[in-house]
Every structure is written in structure tokens, then in C-alpha cells.
């Protein structure tokens, strides 16, 4: 995985030199350790700023919405699925894209590491299986990567890109895991327990909308939370307002969410709002046999009618 970067840089430089694309969307070193930031590369001589390691969790599909130029994009499994969703929703044309597919073995959750070390992390390095961090106190600690992955990465069943023009490295093996244990646990609660669970879950929310901004699906020009006439949801930290916001945001992602984890990753207070989108994902799989973003040629379950669709709900 650490060797991917040479291939990424070479391919990016080649595409830019040939004029096949006008820009490359990738990652560069962030201003803090474990915080790689997205960057747009337009000149072949700049490709050396690109990096690839275990801290590239941001979903790059965000940077493709409504673009007009030809773009090469570096795509992990989840990114590729979101790109497919973008193509289906006419947010970008397939012809505009050159997708550099990257088989992914999961991205590291910086919060988990930060919680396990004392002091601030100043430097970070990694091997194929381990993460090594150095703190302000001069201590060096190592963690097995498998233990500090983002939760959605540990449950990922599409690590290889579903759509690509070139694959940077050999495909990795896919995992078979039960994706919905946490959802099932909540479903098993009584209604009162669930009310309490969600009240507690969203209590720390500060309504910064980082989850919305990080989400590749949230591209509406005016989000419903910003509408003032009518005002669907209050702007304060009232518990019901917060819950309405999270509920509707999740619902807008129904049948579209690929569980890329961008929302949870972006959340400054660490709310796992993915339990909502995962519930919708689970229902989509169970009721419509639909998983988002697997092929640009299939219409999504929620915009097609099928005689077999469940209709018990309607009297």
C-alpha cells in the first residue's frame, strides 16, 4: 500500500502531460499529522505533492460535483461507489473522468489513536501493518493498523473500486462481515430505550454541519436546514431540532449512502450518525435488494417502481 504513491504520481503526471485531463484530484500532506487534505493538481511538475497513506479517508467525490473539465480522480472503493452515484445523478459525466482506482485496506481513525496516546501527536509513520506515532512528550508508540481502522472500514465489503479506468495496484481480497450488528442492536431495544439512545447520541451535536459538508451526497444548492421560508428545522441546539436535522439528512441519503464514513470522520465531537444511514442501507438491501453505487447502468431502487416492492404499509 505504501508503494501505491509512486504509481499514483506516475499516472497523474502522465495524464497531465498528455493533456488527457486538466486536473488531478488527490491528497497532499495536511498541516497536522494524520490529516491529509484534498488537493487539485493542475501541472505535471506538482504531482510530487500527492501522497497516499492510511490517512486519506476524505471522500474525493465531493470535489467533482458539477465540474465541467476533464478530471482524473484517485478513488478508493467507497469513493468509486460515490462517483457512480454522482454519474447516476448527473452531477458529472463519465466521459469527464479518468478514475485511478486504489484498492483500499481501510483508513485509520485518528480519534482512536489520539485517545490512546498521551500528549499531542507530532509525527506519524507507518508500515504495511503498523502505525507509529510520536508525541510531544517524545514517546513513540506503535499500533496495529487493524485495531485503529475507522469503523466503517472494518465493515467494508467493497474495498476495491467498482468503476475505474486504471487500477493502481492489484485488487485486495474483500471481507465478508456482518455489516449491521450495531443496527440490529438498536432495533432490538424498546421504543423508550431507542428514544433515550438517540437523545444521548445527538446531545453533543453543535450543529456545525461538518457531516453535511463532508458528505459527497449533500450537494443541494440550498440545504433544507438553511431554508427560512418555511423553516423546516430550528437553528439552535434544541434536542428536537438536532434530531430533525440528523433524521432528515440521513433520510436524504437513503439508497445513496455508501457508508464511506466521511460524516463521522468530519464530526468534531465524534457522533456516530452512521447508525441512521446504515439503518436505511440495511432496509434498502432487505426490501429492494439494492446497494448504492455498484453500477452506473442500473437505476436506483428508490426511483424505479417494481411490482414486487413491499407495500404492506399502504392501506
Amino acid at each position: 500500500m505504501l508503494t501505491y504513491i509512486d504509481e499514483i504520481r506516475a499516472a497523474s503526471a502522465r495524464l497531465l502531460q498528455e493533456g488527457a485531463v486538466e486536473m488531478v484530484v488527490g491528497f497532499r500532506q495536511g498541516s497536522q499529522p494524520m490529516m491529509n487534505e484534498p488537493c487539485l493538481i493542475r501541472r505535471p511538475e506538482d504531482v510530487d505533492t500527492l501522497v497516499w497513506d492510511s490517512h486519506c479517508g476524505i471522500n474525493l467525490t465531493n470535489y467533482l460535483t458539477n465540474r465541467k473539465e476533464k478530471i482524473a480522480v484517485i478513488a478508493k472503493g467507497c469513493d468509486a461507489r460515490n462517483i457512480v452515484t454522482h454519474i447516476i445523478e448527473n452531477k458529472i459525466e463519465r466521459e469527464q473522468l479518468y478514475i485511478l482506482g486504489v484498492p483500499c485496506q481501510g483508513m485509520v481513525d485518528k480519534r482512536q489513536i489520539a485517545m490512546r496516546v498521551a500528549g499531542e501527536i507530532t509525527e506519524v509513520g507507518e508500515s504495511d501493518t503498523e502505525i507509529r506515532v510520536q508525541t510531544t512528550r517524545g514517546e513513540i508508540q506503535t499500533f496495529a493498523k487493524a485495531e485503529v481502522l475507522q469503523q466503517n472500514c472494518t465493515l467494508c465489503t467493497h474495498r476495491n473500486p467498482v468503476l475505474y479506468d486504471a487500477l493502481i495496484a492489484e485488487a485486495v481480497s474483500e471481507q465478508t462481515v456482518d455489516r449491521y450488528t450495531d443496527v440490529a442492536a438498536i432495533e432490538a431495544m424498546t421504543i423508550g430505550e431507542r428514544q433515550q439512545y438517540f437523545q444521548d447520541l445527538f446531545a453533543p451535536c453543535i450543529r456545525c454541519y461538518a457531516c453535511r459538508n463532508a458528505c459527497p451526497l449533500c450537494y443541494c444548492p440550498t440545504c433544507f436546514v438553511d431554508e427560512a421560508q418555511p423553516q423546516w428545522v430550528g437553528k439552535g441546539q434544541d434536542a428536537v431540532d438536532v434530531m430533525t436535522f440528523h433524521f432528515l439528512r440521513a433520510y436524504h441519503c437513503a439508497g445513496r449512502c455508501t457508508d464511506c464514513g466521511a460524516c463521522e470522520r468530519a464530526c468534531p465531537v465524534g457522533i456516530n450518525m452512521r447508525v441512521l444511514t446504515k439503518k436505511l442501507e440495511k432496509d434498502c438491501v432487505n426490501n429492494f435488494g439494492w446497494e448504492a453505487g455498484l453500477s452506473p447502468d442500473v437505476r436506483p431502487a428508490l426511483d424505479t417502481f417494481n411490482l414486487d416492492d413491499p407495500d404492506k404499509l399502504i392501506k
Binding site: I191, Y197, M243, L302
Partner: protein, 58 residues
Amino acid sequence: MLLSNLLEYMGIERNRLHMSWVSSAEATKFIDVVTEVTEAVRALGPNKYFIKDQAKVA
């Protein structure tokens, strides 16, 4: 359907949201459904969980 599942998941009783399909010629079916919906909601009691407190205006 996803909506009602998610509502229930978040702790709003399923019977608070009803959907039906009534033709404009089916006045009797309309009445049946109204009665059914009313009884279902009556059985649940008042909705307390998801109401936003409004500022009281004098």
C-alpha cells in the same frame, strides 16, 4: 416505507405515520381509514417525544 422504518428506529411509534390509497369515489373507504387511523393514534396516546417546545407568546 424507509421513512416509517427510520421513524420507528429513532423512537417514534410506527402507528403515528399512516399511508393509504383512497380513490375519490371511495367515500366509505375514506371513512373506514379515518376511523382506523384515529383509533390507532388514540391507542398510542399523545405525542410527547418529538414536539419542539415553542416559545410561549403572551
